[in-house]
Amino acid sequence: MNPKRCAACKYLRRRCPKDCIFAPYFPPNDPAKFACIHRIYGAGNVSKMLQQLPEQTRAEAVESLCFEAKCRVDDPVYGCVGIIHLLQTQIQNAQNELAKTQAEVAVAQTNLSQTQNSDF
């Protein structure tokens, strides 16, 4: 066996060809990365997804797939959708706080101009 097999081919216990689609993105020194992505998506699905993408976008696609797979492992019910929900809640809270603060600014400005007018 080629000692320089990528992590995917090592995990799948197969020969790593020169044009292995996984090799550029799953170096042998990080076996957990492929293991996680394989657990959630399966090697076949990942291979299909990468084949359908232009080469220059595959690295980003692998990183986002790994992130989502890790989220799913950490949270088997909601995965990264839990993060989306959390962010949406934060946005809602921030919008409410901003509206409240901007109202306070308006009141403070009104009070200030009234104070300045009464000084004159």
Binding site: G42, E60, S64, F67, V77, I84, Q102, A108
Partner: protein, 197 residues
């Protein structure tokens, strides 16, 4: 088939197999919505979905299926970034709002300082504050204009954002998003309630 008179679930229809009475997919993939299973199968694969569902208690499986469908839809719409693109977009929105909030809070402080009667006797201090205030408001107005320009091009509706693909340009590095994830999970555990109610 599932039983006399009942049609197989969407997954068994797609997989062209007998739909057993205890089919794990049947409660979540009704036959009248074939697209739902098709998209999950395309991204995750039926066997992976089956394994994931088997590892979950029954009362959590509906939520898990819905989140898988959501992720699969996001991945089909955006094959490169999937849900991570949406996360990046929302993270950017949070940052912008927090900046606007900080600006508004600073403005209140400035106004309150101008209102303070004790400062009237320290005229040079008031002038200094006014200079700082002018500089601060100038910078803040620039920031607000930039924020409002950005917000005019964005939409808080996640579905719209996902369909328009506008969040792609704001993709943060995956490592920074992963760090953010860990921080948020520490600050706000939210897993108790269903997302889909």
């Amino acid at each position: 088939m599932a039983g006399p008179g009942s049609s197989p679930c969407a997954s068994c229809k797609l997989l062209r197999r007998r739909c057993a009475k205890d089919c794990i997919f049947a409660p979540y993939f009704p036959p009248d919505d074939p697209h739902k299973f098709a998209i999950v199968h395309k991204v995750f694969g039926a066997s992976n979905v089956s394994k994931m569902l088997q590892e979950l208690p029954v009362h959590q499986r509906a939520d898990a299926v819905n989140s898988l469908v959501f992720e699969a839809n996001a991945r089909v719409r955006d094959p490169v970034y999937g849900c991570v693109g949406a996360i990046s977009y929302l993270q950017n929105q949070v940052s912008q709002l927090q900046m606007q909030l900080a600006v508004a809070q600073a403005e209140i402080l400035c106004i309150q300082m101008q209102n303070e009667p004790t400062l009237q006797s320290h005229h040079h201090v008031l002038e200094l504050d006014q200079d700082h205030k002018a500089l601060l408001l100038q910078n803040n107005n620039n920031n607000i204009n930039n924020c409002s320009n950005n917000n005019n091009n964005n939409n808080n509706n996640l579905g719209y954002a996902m369909s328009s693909g506008q969040f792609n340009s704001n993709f943060a590095s995956p490592s920074s998003i992963m760090q953010m994830q860990m921080q948020m999970q520490m600050q706000d555990p939210l897993k108790q309630e269903s997302l889909w109610t």
